[in-house]
């Protein structure tokens, strides 16, 4: 209860919220330019398979974006629950691709977020840079090492069964022939994005 009240007061005092700046930032992403059209119908929330677990529903996030609450939006857990199933986008009566807005929010937030999902996506990104392809065993091991090494024990039984069924390989992964090209690709992207 207390936390909710504090947040409400915060909004009232911040008359100078620069909603336009945040909207412009999102407009630079594909699908991020129609946020203002949102009529708050809630179809996105009601179509989302995971919205029942989110602290702020997708619809509420849209309203928070329109109000300029950038920090609160990026700190929310909503976008990390998004599975990119596009049910929301397909049904939105205003034709807003909610799933693409979620992608945009994650790519902005990932730079400062400290949670499992952010770590997972970063690990994936690094893993692919190394080998050009994603090797499940390599990904899971690195992810565990990065976040919680003990989780490897939890995954153990499942991993073992998959090994036995030939679905997993503990052979160290080899990079594709074009691995250096991939590295160059990553470098070029980083350079274009201003050393992000």
């Amino acid at each position: 209860m207390e936390q909710a009240e504090a947040r409400a007061l915060e909004v009232i005092r911040q008359d100078a919220l620069d909603a336009s700046a945040f909207l412009d930032e999102l407009a630079g992403f594909p699908g991020g330019d129609k946020v203002k059209n949102c009529m708050q119908c809630g179809v996105c929330t009601a179509s989302c398979p995971l919205s029942f677990k989110m602290t702020e529903t997708p619809r509420k996030i849209m309203e928070m974006i329109k109000a300029g609450l950038r920090d609160q939006v990026l700190a929310s857990d909503t976008m990390w629950y998004c599975a990119s199933c596009y049910a929301c986008s397909v049904r939105c009566p205003q034709g807003i691709s909610m799933a693409d807005v979620m992608y945009a929010l994650r790519t902005i937030a990932i730079k400062t977020a400290r949670n499992l999902s952010a770590a997972f996506y970063q690990t994936f990104k690094d893993s692919v840079r190394r080998y050009g392809r994603m090797h499940e065993s390599d990904l899971m091991i690195r992810f565990a090492l990065r976040t919680n090494p003990l989780s490897l024990l939890k995954m153990g039984p499942l991993g073992l069964r998959m090994l036995m069924k030939g679905k997993l390989s503990l052979v160290p992964p080899t990079a594709i022939r074009g691995a250096r090209e991939i590295a160059k690709l990553y470098e070029k992207v980083a350079e274009m994005e201003g050393g992000a």
């Binding site: 629950y81 990104k125 050009g132 392809r133 069964r161 069924k165 679905k167 090209e181 690709l185």
Partner: protein
């Protein structure tokens, strides 16, 4: 997003039957049986699949959550290689299909992302000048090979085998090439010509949670239980899928779901191509039908 109209024409025999093939990272490991069965089925039906040489990971949903430009540029390397070959590209994994299509769409018009992606590719000495034709294997089977040819090639129709067709979410959304964003029929039709009794499955495109099983296990187990529950209630003998992530979540974690929710599901989850291959006469081992955590073998005994 507009509702799609049914695309393609059926049984276009004489249309392109040679494809460049993008397996994606899962098909060589956790989804080996998908690769094996697709290659076998396509071969039997006269479709040539040539694995794209030195392909790289498409990035799936992970990269578009980490870095926007990278998420377009990385799959675009594959598109650049395919466009040099001048062949259409066949894809089996839903996630790869949607990610490659997303990158491909950038080349349909003169937008800012097209220029950016081409700038990245230029640094590698590559470029994409026009969109590549990307086809999911379900469409190749239904529209290029045609249901009639498949039916004629079936050696042991799987009559009486009740199958719940589970498409997953990324196949028919947001792209509009499939017959309906929420109730597509392509897999139903292909399974039906293999002789299967396709049961009603209202949740056929409800998301399985995909990669979130790793980071949000609790809630993803919950939504997968709902999928299994409906399939079981509809009397399905097994669930047919076309995506490695859906297969993993529903199959490898079925044990965990049972212990978590006190349920007793025993539903094999197989790729539709494994069933189709089996119907075309390939034997169980080749189709990898025992490789699931919940093996499918006992349901197929009567068709031996």
């Amino acid at each position: 997003m507009k509702v799609a109209t049914a695309p393609g024409t059926e049984g276009q025999a004489g249309a392109a039957t040679r494809f460049s093939f993008f397996p994606g990272c899962s098909l060589h490991t956790t989804a080996r049986e998908y690769l094996d069965s697709v290659v076998a089925v396509m071969g039997a039906l006269g479709v040539e699949l040539e694995e794209l040489d030195d392909w790289n990971c498409c990035g799936a949903t992970a990269l578009s959550s980490a870095d926007m430009l990278l998420s377009y540029a990385l799959p675009a390397r594959n598109l650049a290689m395919v466009s040099e070959l001048g062949l259409p590209l066949a894809v089996a994994c839903n996630s790869c299909f949607v990610t490659l299509s997303r990158a491909n769409s950038v080349f349909r018009s003169e937008g800012p992302w097209r220029a950016k992606v081409n700038e990245v590719l230029a640094a590698l000495g590559r470029k994409v000048s026009k969109p590549v034709e990307i086809r999911h294997v379900l469409h190749i089977l239904r529209d290029t090979v045609g249901l009639d040819r498949i039916r004629a090639a079936v050696k042991r129709p799987l009559a009486g085998l009740k199958v719940a067709p589970y498409y997953g979410c990324q196949l028919s959304r947001p792209r509009h090439e499939f017959s309906d964003p929420e109730f597509p029929t392509e897999m139903d039709e292909v399974l039906a010509v293999a002789g299967c009794e396709v049961v009603r499955f209202d949740r056929k495109t409800k998301c399985c949670g995909g990669a979130l099983m790793t980071t949000k296990e609790d809630v993803v187990l919950e939504i997968n239980e709902q999928l299994l529950r409906e399939a079981a209630t509809r009397g399905a003998d097994l669930i047919a899928v076309c995506c490695p992530m859906c297969q993993m979540n529903l199959d490898a974690y079925q044990g965990k779901i049972n212990s978590r929710f006190g349920t007793r599901y025993e539903l094999p989850v197989v790729y539709f191509s494994q069933l189709l291959g089996f119907a075309l006469g390939f034997d169980e081992a080749v189709m990898g039908l025992a490789r699931g955590f919940v093996p499918a073998t006992k349901h197929l005994r009567k068709y031996a």
